[in-house]
């Protein structure tokens, strides 16, 4: 494995490549990629949880918290700087996560999934009736500035937001990669296989899951704030369970082996959505369902496991051991 420096080098290269690609790409693609990266960050949070064996069906809670934190800061306190707004989103997600975490600590499997779902629906219900926050209509936001720079033309603004989102995404992804490869990150894998064994080895499963949950919450907040900036609008649907379901879909599609795969999956799904809503709007969900079934059936490790298989088969002539991916 390449280690921390390899990850950092890859991050710098990724940033440069994204900046060039965004400059060359048409505006519609830049807009789609911005939104896809924002959503990918939330899915990355679920991936962090999945490595410890937990799947949250309520990441919409943090996504929504981040979006509303950024939105309220912009509207009430006239904070316009994207970096500040996203930082506020992260803090909002993190604080909410730290409050909720003790409540969820004892839950696993379906109970964890349904309880997170219930919490997100409570947030959804409350926001729908909170008229000072726009109720069910939500609120409109204006374009942010970037470290003092305020783009004049709309094309410049979308490219600037894309650059900023890419930078945030690459930093978050690199930090996640470093965390995943660290001792604590690897312990998540062990906890997923057998919690009792990990406890006997002297590590705290509660703490491992707590840290993963906090990471997921903060990433949810960042993703929410970035989505709010790129959509220019926030509403309670950010916390609706179908939104959370979409993040779980992304996480399953990408698998928990590769961090990059999350964002590849996000861009693919976002592209698929924009094409199908144009050409076959009534069967898009169904197609997504069929696709999800096929992935779970034939590629249980997700898209990321494809890359791993390729890497392993290049290093050794033997095929990759499929069991270790499960």
């Amino acid at each position: 494995m390449s280690g921390i420096f390899g990850t950092l080098a890859a991050a710098v290269i990724a940033c440069a490549a994204l900046a060039l690609a965004g400059y060359a790409a048409p505006n519609w693609l830049v807009l789609i990629a911005t939104l896809a990266f924002s959503k990918g960050l939330v899915a990355l949070g679920i991936v962090a949880l999945m490595r410890g064996g937990l799947v949250s069906f309520g990441q919409g809670t943090f996504y929504c918290a981040g979006a509303y934190a950024a939105g309220m800061a912009m509207r009430s306190f006239e904070i316009n700087d994207a970096a500040l707004l996203v930082a506020l989103g992260a803090v909002a997600g993190l604080i909410l996560g730290v409050i909720i975490a003790p409540l969820l600590a004892g839950y696993r499997g379906i109970f964890f999934a349904t309880l997170t779902l219930a919490l997100s629906m409570i947030v959804y219900g409350i926001l729908n009736k909170t008229y000072s926050l726009g109720g069910s209509d939500g609120l409109n936001l204006h374009a942010p500035s970037f470290f003092g720079y305020r783009p004049a033309a709309s094309e410049n603004a979308s490219y600037a937001l894309f650059l900023f989102t890419s930078l945030t995404t690459v930093i978050a992804a690199a930090m996640c990669r470093i965390h995943f490869d660290s001792v604590r990150g690897l312990l998540s894998h062990a906890a997923r296989d057998n919690e009792i064994r990990v406890e006997y080895l002297g590590a705290s499963v509660r703490w491992i899951n707590g840290v993963n949950f906090a990471i997921a919450a903060a990433l949810g907040g960042i993703g929410g704030a970035l989505s709010a900036l790129s959509l220019g609008h926030i509403d309670p649907d950010f916390a609706f369970w179908t939104t959370s379901g979409e993040f779980v879909f992304l996480a399953i599609l990408s698998g928990y082996v590769s961090v990059t795969a999350v964002f590849v999956a996000a861009v693919l799904v976002e592209l698929g959505r924009s094409y199908s809503s144009q050409y076959f709007p009534n069967t898009w969900q169904g197609a997504l369902g069929v696709f999800l079934l096929l992935i779970i059936l034939f590629l249980p490790g997700g898209l990321g496991s494809l890359a791993l298989r390729l890497r392993v088969s290049r290093a050794k002539p033997e095929p990759a051991p499929a069991e270790t991916l499960k």
């Binding site: 009792i196 779980v248 009534n282």
Partner: protein, 299 residues
């Protein structure tokens, strides 16, 4: 007093259809270990099928009005016999050895497919099947007027619950199902045809969802999106009651029914999330629901 009576009666009426749907969900979880996300869509398909059948029957004036109820029952049965085996044999059986959470995702995929399939078959406009709703006249309680059909629905829920309890606890095939719930591997070793029990239990679950849908159809306008509300509500009922528990589903349905009725009468703005609040509170104190089953810790 009048308000308390209204909350009580509304709660029980709400609980009745909710119980029919939720008990199907809990049965499927008990036997197959699958929390079926598509259950709400099956409710919707049942409602659409019944609404179409009722519309066709009363529209043409084809026979005595009361036969419409039989037709609604038949519609639910037809939905179960077609979709139950199709989903269980056609899709779910390929995923049985997977993790519980992965199975939830599989049924989530089925939910997405069914939602679009209902839109393709029945379109996006609303269906109304109000004729059977008015047939039983009105009933008066504490000066409050209620539609007789709503009370018939309570009766249907009680009968369904009793038949299910009796079938599971007092018949040979029911005991075989209980054995499979307890330990499918040992049951298989003892010569039980577990595959058949799975197919049967899933189809019965589909039937209960469709039955709930068919008999709720006259009360509502059947339109896209009803499945989503129902799955979230019955999810809450099943989780509050304890996954896999029939008695739990009954008590929890009443819980949820009363909570919703109380919210509608007392704090209308809380109606959207009161159910999830109750669910979160119950889970916070009893992590596996009110009627949790003791399970051996497998290491």
């Amino acid at each position: 007093m009048k308000l308390a009576a209204a909350i009580l009666i509304d709660g029980v009426i709400d609980a009745s259809w909710l119980f029919i749907v939720a008990v199907g969900l809990t049965l499927v979880f008990g036997v197959l270990n699958i929390l079926n996300f598509a259950h709400g869509s099956l409710f919707a398909v049942g409602a659409y099928a019944a609404a179409s059948a009722v519309g066709w029957y009363y529209g043409g004036g084809l026979g005595p009005p009361f036969l419409g109820y039989l037709l609604m029952f038949g519609a639910a049965l037809a939905v179960a016999l077609i979709l139950g085996p199709l989903m269980e044999r056609g899709v779910l059986r390929f995923f049985y050895r997977r993790d519980e959470v992965v199975l939830v995702l599989v049924t989530y995929a089925l939910f997405l497919i069914l939602e679009d399939a209902t839109k393709l078959i029945w379109g996006t406009e609303s269906y109304y099947a109000s004729e059977p709703y008015a047939l039983l006249g009105n009933v008066s309680f504490f000066g409050l007027s209620y539609v007789g059909y709503d009370f018939a629905l309570i009766g249907l829920a009680v009968v369904t619950g009793f038949l299910l309890w009796f079938g599971l606890n007092r018949t040979i095939s029911g005991k075989i199902v209980l054995a499979v719930i307890h330990d499918r591997d040992i049951s298989r070793a003892m010569g039980v045809n577990v595959t058949r029990v799975f197919a049967f239990a899933f189809t019965l679950g589909v039937f209960l969802a469709a039955l709930g849908g068919a008999f709720t159809a006259p009360k509502i306008s059947v339109q896209p999106g009803i499945g989503i509300t129902v799955i979230l509500l019955s999810f809450a009922v099943v989780v509050i009651g304890g996954l896999g528990s029939v008695e739990g589903a009954a008590i929890a349905a009443l819980f949820v029914g009363f909570a919703r009725a109380a919210a509608i009468h007392l704090v209308p703005w809380a109606e959207l999330f009161i159910v999830y609040l109750v669910m979160a509170l119950v889970l916070a104190f009893r992590p596996e629901g009110l009627f949790q089953r003791a399970s051996a810790r497998k290491i």
